[in-house]
Amino acid sequence: MERRDFVQLTGTALGAVTVPIWGGGQRVADFSGSLTPIPSADKKALADVALNTAKSRGATYVDVRIGRYLNQFITCRDTKVQNITNTESYGCGIRVITNGTWGFASTNDVTPDGIARAATRAVAIARANSRLQTEPVQLAAEPGHGEVAWRTPIKKNAFEIPISEKADLLLAASDAALKNGANFVNSLLFLVNEQKYFASTDGSYIDQDVHRIWPVFVVTSVNTETGKFETRNSLSAPRGMGYEYLDAGAGEKVTGPAGANTITYRDSYDMIEDAKLAATQAKAKHTAKSVEAGKYDLVLDPTNLWLTIHESVGHPLELDRVLGYEANYAGTSFVTLDKWRSHSFNYGSPIVTLFADKTQPGSLGAVGYDDEGVKCKRWDLVKNGILVNYQAIRDQVHVIGQNASHGCCYSDNWSDVQFQRMPNVSLEPGTAQMTPEQMIAGVEKGIYIVGDSSYSIDQQRYNFQFSGQLFYEISGGKIVGQLRDVAYQSNTQEFWNSCQQICDQRDYRMGGSFFDGKGQPGQISAVSHGCSTSRFNGVNVINTARKL
């Protein structure tokens, strides 16, 4: 799905949807029979055809992914269900090493003959490319895991919830917003189920059933007299959960600091409540004070900070970017190997510890094994402010002198080759007890920012600009009113070194991207970022208002 198609689908731009690009091969289908994964034994027999065929043609390593990828999108516009789309894609991707070179071929003909043809083609492609090969693939060893399985620990399979129940929830959220002064509401419920089977010549046969969910809306308030309009996006997060995320559990709500009138959510989302509040907040934006540009201490709620972590920490620490593999598309990275080798590069202030974790329950990136058969784990990227590691996969870790992959290889579809993708990257909560309200009490001149919006960063991840959904002016330790036209601009290292305080574990929440784009052909991945409310001192704020 190209970005503009997504925008058309939603009817309006939906905030922080990070470069939504859909892989090939998707198709619309009903799910009759597709919700039950194909028996592992059947997939093992097919996988063995790929492994044996490619080996017999000269491959020294082979992996095969047989995947069924289900998506459901329910789209509502105001009081109407606009669209219900089921997409289903089933096929097989085969990756080989021949003459020290990768080759890949995929097919939707998931039969022994179709798979054998694709395996043969993958070997031929590897052989053709090997004449330009200057760096033969060095694959870190990974033990065979035998026949194993993993499933997202969902409580309610969202695909099995009746469509009418899901549509009713979206319509109820619309109704709540419209009754509270919104002029328009666009909403969407995205569901993803990846049923993927991996096998390799290392002796792994891994069956996984992965679930993700994202309820999202945009509320618009129009002032026809002035010709102005204001929006407020939902404060939900996409999650690696089932339909239980929409249970609106009271214990998962986080009420904002005094003067802000905000509610955000941990592991359970109340879409109707959020829509109601969004309507009043969008309306209030019309009369909010336009920010005066200058330096401010920023107090960033996790609904805003997750995206800054994603762009300024997650991406620059991808080893493939550091090495130049993404130079032609996503870019490279300022976090060059010499900085890592120095063991003294101050990525952030001493209170900043950022970690990667593919096992966090409820996160978008959580799986048992990655897409090259590596068992998933947690590791530190920045420890007490110092850069300590990158994100790397099997054919990269030798570059940083390590002998085991970090387990963060992924492909969004059977049709495209797997490669290094960002694991969940999160900020460790502060060790001292602190609430957002206590943090704000210490700020003389600042802005409290909730929700994500416009985001942009350069191709080496130095210079960024982010906005938000809600801005509150802090003066003399108190929130004194709502602001608008706010965006903050900074440099990654400067920003993280300006981090002065981090709230404790009680305030920890996860945000995330459902559509993180990378690679050519473009692929998406879904990734979560957890953090607690944090304070950054002296950040440059610009005023974004213009006159046409």
Binding site: E2, R4, A13, G24, G25, V28, K80, V81, N83, I84, N86, T87, Y90, G91, T101, W102, F104, A105, S106, T107, N108, A122, A124, I125, A128, N129, L132, T134, E135, A167, F184, V222, T224, G227, F229, T231, G324, A327, N328, Y329, G331, T332, T336, D416, F419, S454, S456, D458, Q459, Q460, Y462, Q465, A487, Q520, N540, T544, A545, R546, K547, L548
Partner: protein, 444 residues
């Protein structure tokens, strides 16, 4: 599977349509076959080939619809797909904005298929990579690039009598060359439907030249500058403007095209009178499918002419409700230019900035179409009609509406899609006054 002829497509879709019991039924076929190669660090990293064929069956009862897709074409599978789409339609909620399938339409002829691209081999792709990697290596530079090529076949047929068929080929190439000392970077793209128009090696040459020329950039102060935006830089900004030409959004007051007090800005002068932006599915340099997914014919459409907003695009539902023509979303974008080369525009510039590429452009304020983004892969300072030196990259905050009001000069067109825009376009080089750079970036 592919190639799929019109007769094969009609026969295949007819087998589904003959089985329908719904009020209306529409069938789509999509097939593709192609390959790609990706290289970086002066070495091939990945290469692949893929093919797919799918049939989409949509059935309607009143305003309820259900859709099913299959990729097997035996009689039992086709019948199951038709029956299941009918069951889903019965289960679906009523869509008040549902529009019934369209009858036969007249489509323009769009010559978009060329055997020379359909027949590209893995060896050709490897040679393209080699022609990019080897000269880069020889000049202490490192190349990273991507070539994707293939053929697509699409067809649709419905119970209201519509039949449409289109086939196309396309090759896309982009390359970034970086100086090995990390201080310079260059970028170029090429795309074509016809291999004879696919001058792929020139892109590698230009990217290499820019990488060498952009080494050791100097910092200049952010602020307002005259800029020369090369086509790849301009399209990412321009697309943001036209993607905001949604008629319903304007009618509802939630677009910069809405007027205070109601109504839209269609017919009003928006930008400099030299600006002419239009779409044409049959343009020989950027041919597209002759129809939008719902069967509506694409036709030549002005979006802005003489600086005046001329048309907005609509859904069929909203157009019917408003009693206006249901102009579809632009299939491509063409902005008129001139015969002036980039070099000629530089010669006429006393002080300014040459921008090769813009990057990571995102909307900041939809009320003014204000966007932010950065320059990348070759940014140069111009003084007294000459490029003086490379400069560090900038972040900008600018509205394409303000930008096109500050239009100074237009130059030659080039086919580009834009890494942020993603729409096939013919864009001229543009010289713009008072372009707003808001901060410096250390990124190379």
């Amino acid at each position: 599977m592919a190639p799929l002829t019109p007769d094969q497509a009609r026969a295949l879709m007819g087998r589904a349509l003959r089985l329908t019991k719904a009020d209306a039924c529409e069938v789509n076929l999509n097939a593709n076959s192609g390959g790609n190669i990706r290289y970086a660090r002066n070495s091939v990293t990945t290469a692949g080939a893929t093919e797919d064929l799918q049939m989409v069956v949509q059935s309607n009862f009143g305003k309820r619809s259900g859709t099913v897709t299959i990729n097997e074409f035996d009689d039992a599978t086709i019948e199951r797909a038709v029956r299941r789409s009918e069951e889903l339609a019965h289960l679906a909620p009523e869509d008040e904005e549902f529009m019934p399938p369209m009858g036969q339409q007249q489509y323009v002829t769009s010559q978009a298929y060329f055997d020379n691209i359909a027949n590209i081999t893995p060896e050709y792709r490897t040679q393209v990579a080699a022609n990019s990697i080897n000269p880069s290596k020889a000049k202490e530079c490192t190349a990273a690039g991507f070539l994707q090529d293939g053929a697509q076949w699409q067809a649709m047929m419905n119970s209201a009598g519509l039949f449409a068929y289109h086939r196309s080929t396309q090759a896309n190439f982009s390359v970034t060359v970086r100086a090995n000392d990390g201080t310079g970077s260059g970028y170029a793209t090429r795309e074509a439907n016809d291999l004879t128009k696919f001058d792929v090696d020139s892109a590698s040459r230009i990217a290499l030249e820019k990488a060498a020329a952009s080494r050791n950039p100097l910092a200049i102060e952010p602020g307002k500058y005259t800029v020369i935006l090369e086509p790849e830089a301009g399209i990412n900004l321009l697309a943001n403007l036209i993607f905001n030409f949604d008629g319903r959004q304007a009618d509802e007051g939630r677009s910069f095209m809405a007027k205070a007090g109601g109504g839209t800005k269609v017919g009003e002068k928006l930008v400099d009178e030299r600006v002419h932006i239009w779409s044409d599915p049959a343009h020989p340099d950027i041919p597209t499918s002759p129809w939008q997914g719902d069967g509506r014919p694409y036709e030549r459409t002005d979006w802005i002419a003489g600086g005046v907003a001329r048309n907005l695009y609509f859904s069929r539902y909203w157009a019917q409700k408003k009693g206006v023509k249901a102009t579809p979303f632009p299939p491509n974008l063409i902005m008129d230019g001139s015969t002036a080369t980039t070099e000629e525009l530089i010669r006429d510039t006393s002080r300014g900035v040459l921008v090769t590429r813009t990057w990571y452009i995102r909307s900041v304020d939809p009320q003014t179409v204000l966007v932010t983004g950065l320059t990348r892969d070759g940014t140069f300072f111009i003084e007294n009609g000459q490029i003086k030196h490379a400069i560090k990259n900038f972040r900008f905050n600018e509205s394409p509406v303000i930008m096109l009001n500050n239009l100074d000069a237009l130059g030659r067109q080039q086919r580009v899609s834009g890494s942020d825009a993603g729409i096939t376009s013919l864009m001229p080089v543009m010289r713009i006054r008072d372009f707003t750079f808001t901060s410096l970036s250390d990124a190379v």
